[in-house]
């Protein structure tokens, strides 16, 4: 076969316009926030993944644009504060963001403009879901997609604290949490995410996780042949691996890519909330009430309080001390 084949592509056909049944249902859930007894699915969907090859990314922001258009969000028109990163952070209306870092490689003294598409990593072990106190506000499907169910969200912000990548954002308009859905509505009808489809250089590709890992191997070999000895795949084991992965030219130092965590883990604080604070607190509030009602009650104010956070941190410190002592 000729070696000039096109890269793996997200879309193999144009989206359907005839009505189609969704292929992601509650029956495919493997986790549901604040729900202890979820029946396990009868079928296992093939795990999917989005692979972001930072070395092929030209920072054009097509992914941001496509994301806004597909998800019908309305990011604000801000101002320039001296950087190309716009908006300046993820927002409830901007689920993905190109983060630009000017980095001088100390080994070559050459400038490298590192551009990383930030957004939800769809962790196999999702900290947001584990931290979430609202039943069914965060769900995980057997194909790996971690999705927010806004009707069930109470806007407490625990998911923000629970996320090792600092991704979810609470909307000022409706006080619910938002993030990348991996375009669950597209995946459900056999289409890849809008960002991956748009990406001009196909730095973003989407497919089965297995295929994406194989594709990454080829890319890493190419980068090594071009002198990037530490090129590698970012699929952090601390969160059980992710369904959004990166190919990095400098996989030995992910932190240079706009603070990509070196070894992300679900914060021990979140684990502590879960045990000590979260359920107890919510039980008092009336856990049985529907999420929407809870949301109505607490609205914007229902955030993790400073006090709660300190309390939890203290609990963690004690626990760690005990471990050390032992």
């Amino acid at each position: 076969m000729a070696n000039t084949m096109d890269s793996p592509r997200t879309a193999v056909s144009n989206p359907p316009v005839q009505p189609m049944e969704t292929n992601l249902t509650q029956r495919d859930l493997i986790r549901r926030s604040a729900t202890s007894e979820l029946p396990q699915p009868e079928r296992q969907l093939t795990p999917v993944a989005k692979l972001i090859d930072v070395s092929k990314c030209i920072g054009c922001k097509a992914c941001q644009s496509a994301c806004v258009e597909w998800n019908d969000t309305n990011p604000v028109i801000g101002e320039n504060v001296g950087y190309y990163t716009n908006p300046h952070d993820l927002t409830a209306d901007m689920f993905t963001l190109m983060r630009f870092t000017e980095w001088v490689n100390p080994e070559t003294d050459n400038l490298e403009w590192l551009i990383r598409k930030d957004g939800c990593m769809h962790c196999a072990d999702p900290g947001c879901l584990k931290a979430c106190p609202a039943p069914g506000a965060i769900v995980q499907y057997s194909n790996g997609i971690v999705d927010f169910v806004h009707d069930n969200c109470i806007g407490c912000g625990y998911c923000v604290k629970g996320c090792p990548f600092n991704i979810p954002r609470i909307s000022k308009a409706d006080h619910r949490a938002y993030k990348c859905t991996l375009c669950s509505d597209r995946v459900a009808v056999g289409q890849g995410p809008a960002c991956a489809k748009a990406c001009p250089t196909q730095a973003i590709v989407f497919g089965t996780k297995e295929d994406m890992k194989k594709h990454a191997e080829g890319r890493i070999a190419d980068l090594k042949s071009r002198g990037y000895a530490n090129a590698g795949l970012y699929d952090p084991p601390g969160v059980g691996g992710t369904h959004v992965m990166y190919v990095l030219h400098h996989n030995d130092k992910p932190q240079i890519y706009a603070d990509l965590p070196v070894d992300p883990k679900i914060s021990a604080v979140v684990q502590t909330w879960k045990g000590a604070t979260k359920y107890a607190g919510l039980a008092v509030m009336g856990l049985a009430a529907a999420g929407t009602i809870l949301h109505g009650l607490f609205g914007n104010a229902n955030r993790v309080s400073k006090h709660e956070e300190e309390e939890a941190q203290e609990a963690v410190d004690h626990a760690e001390k005990r471990v050390e002592d032992a």
């Binding site: 793996p8 144009n14 359907p16 316009v17 189609m20 097509a62 999705d147 489809k197 089965t208």
Partner: protein, 199 residues
């Protein structure tokens, strides 16, 4: 790794969708099924597809415009979404940040809706009918041409050159519009006639 492999992988996934057991078979009734489907309904369902070309740069990416209503059936049609055309050899379904947001160009709040007229010295535009605007423009142009068309040069040669009214043609119009524009401009003797290729 090549495309075939990836395609197979993807089709396997898509295939799962087609083969998925229906809600009914899983024991849910219709109402219940709707309630538990957390994912957004696919928003392109029941839209009309039209093959188009991105109007920005010269890569000329293939796009598909999804609209409500079908102009070919005489409907009033409105764009609901625009996405890259996977069948197009150049862009293969991809789009840049401009192309991906084309819908918001078509539906820009600063799209012009009516002919507007600004009187000399005025600080505002005022609505004008098409007929009134076109008649007045034709009159102004003819009067200027009649007054200033240079019929002959100093050697008596026919030169038929009109330099006092000029035109910039739009390099985003179609070839067909461009040909009509060309015929118009050159036949009236206009020589101050250029397009964006000059700059």
């Amino acid at each position: 790794m090549n495309m075939d492999l990836s395609r197979r992988g993807f089709l396997k996934l898509a295939g799962a969708g087609v083969a998925a057991t229906s809600m009914g078979a899983l024991g849910f009734g219709e109402a219940e099924a709707a309630e538990i489907a957390h994912v957004r309904p696919f928003k392109l369902a029941m839209t009309t597809e039209t093959r188009q070309t991105c109007p920005y740069c010269s890569v000329a990416c293939g796009i598909i415009i999804y609209s409500k209503g079908d102009v070919r059936k005489g409907d009033k049609a409105e764009v609901v979404h625009i996405e890259g055309d996977v069948d197009h050899p150049t862009n293969r379904g991809t789009l840049c940040p401009k192309g991906a947001a084309l819908k918001d160009f078509v539906k820009s709040p600063t799209r012009l809706l009516y002919p507007m007229h600004r009187k000399p010295g005025s600080d505002k535009f005022e609505r004008m009918s098409w007929d009134e605007a076109l008649d007045r423009i034709a009159r102004l142009m003819k009067d200027d041409r009649d007054a200033n068309l240079l019929l002959k040069n100093e050697k008596g040669l026919d030169v038929n050159r009109w330099t006092t009214t000029g035109m910039l043609a739009a390099s985003a119009t179609s070839n067909e519009t461009a040909w009509a524009t060309f015929k118009f401009a050159k036949s009236i003797g206009m020589v101050g006639f250029d397009n964006q290729a000059r700059v």
